[in-house]
């Protein structure tokens, strides 16, 4: 059983690394969807012999939202904004992969300093959660396109969720449901916002939004 949990967690870490190094938005969204589904499976595996009903509902919610609804919304936003790939990010793909890799030892070190509430869980859980948070942050600060930034936000939320099940366990269902709702609203709003940004400015490069003017110069 432990081996399966570790396999799932390692795959999660690999999806984090993949997201930091891929340039095609389509593939990025697919990987993020896979990460959402993996997250649901990890939850099932952690509580596996005796999983309660509301945990099962939460897992189903996660898989449906993060594996199907978010990708669908993001694909829609991608089509409407007519962007296909992330071009010239602030930090190049090779460097973000290197930074993403270095984030892993950092996460390991950080988690070794944290006292865990449930030490019975696998020791990989908190490092992978921290790694997801760091990778999400990296995506948010280093990419130009609004869609990739939304993906970074999603990855970060995934990390926070993992951290939640590692620290609190079963009692966190309500909190998790609330976060899930928040993220849903976030992605939904961003989907619409991306469309409007694109319609007004003909692109979704966020760095150029800082130079807004009333008239074209």
């Amino acid at each position: 059983m432990n081996l399966w949990i570790e396999l799932l967690l390692v795959s999660l870490a690999l999806t984090n690394l993949a997201l930091t190094s891929l340039c095609r938005l389509e593939t990025c969204i697919r990987v993020a969807a896979a990460q959402g589904i993996l997250l649901g499976l990890v939850t099932v595996a952690l509580h596996s012999p005796a999983i309660s009903l509301h945990m099962l509902v939460l897992v189903l919610g996660i898989i449906v939202l993060k594996g199907l609804v978010f990708p669908w919304l993001l694909f829609r936003a991608m089509r409407q904004a007519r962007v296909r790939r992330e071009v010239e990010p602030f930090v190049s793909f090779t460097w973000s992969l290197l930074i993403g890799t270095l984030a892993l030892p950092t996460a390991m070190w950080l988690s070794s300093r944290l006292p865990a509430a449930h030490p019975s869980h696998t020791p990989l859980l908190i490092p992978v959660a921290l790694h997801a948070i760091l990778a999400g942050l990296l995506l948010i600060v280093s990419r130009r396109k609004a869609i990739t930034q939304v993906l970074g936000y999603l990855v970060m939320e995934n990390g926070i969720y993992l951290f939640g099940i590692a620290l609190v366990g079963e009692e966190s269902v309500l909190v998790d449901l609330a976060t899930l709702l928040d993220v849903f609203v976030g992605v939904f709003v961003m989907g619409i916002a991306i469309f409007h940004i694109n319609r007004t400015f003909d692109h979704i490069d966020t760095d150029r939004l800082s130079a807004l003017k009333d008239w074209p110069s």
Partner: protein
Amino acid sequence: MYAISMFHTALALLLAPLLLGIINQTKAFFAGRDGIPLLQLYYDLWKLLHKGAVYSRTTSWIFRASPVVGLAAVLVGLTLVPWGGQAALLSFEGDLILLVYLLGTMRFFTVLGALDTGSSFEGMGASREVQFSALAEPALLLALAVIVQVSGSISLSTMYAALTPALWLESGPAMIIVAAAILLIYLTENARIPVDDPNTHLELTMIHEVMVLDYSGPDLAFILYAAALKLWILGSLLVGLLLPVHGQGWFNTILFFVGMLFLAVVTGVIEASMARLRLQRVPQLLVCAGALAVLAIVLMQR
């Protein structure tokens, strides 16, 4: 003990060119062609060894030395690699570093020989080869470092002897990641498809093939044979990781040989089903191999 290691080394000397034949046959099968005969490399080597060599007047002794040094380096390297669940012919503390540097010596002399011809075309290939191997070498050392960490030894033979099925059960994910990293390095170092296309001889994209354009006769035979042996060495590092069997006996020898054949088929399938990466994306692939190795080290660390 030594007898069987010597037998394994002789087997490698004899059968290494066969692997390239199998790769080509697999590719031909996927393309629906008859393909190059399975033993073509043997015929080529035989033919080339009976020819004379032609040297350009601009070249110096470096150009003539480089195929010989390359073959010598890779032959010494071959004696260091454990095969078939057995210790290698030679083993001592730290021989993994010697192996990596022997491969480095071979590459260094190929590059020098290419630069010695004074052809701008070969200089370009040399520059690319050096750029990619500068990234592939640390990745290979990092991947071997994971096995060092597992086994607590820095000699290839004892390192590979410490790999057991029990270890695979205990830390399977990390082992799979190391195997993936070594597969990427194996493809890069042998100039196979996601990095370099061994079929294109006169394209601007080629890397390894362009450096040996000026060689002919026995020199070219040495280079082709050394490349086949290099494929065998890196292949046995990967197969040894994936087949954690030990002990003497014909069964292990046959099992390992089937493993090598399977690896050749897998290489052929990769080549048949993938396109070569854009040149700018290749460093990213190699960084990815390094990242996988680091991930495995971190996983083993806890």
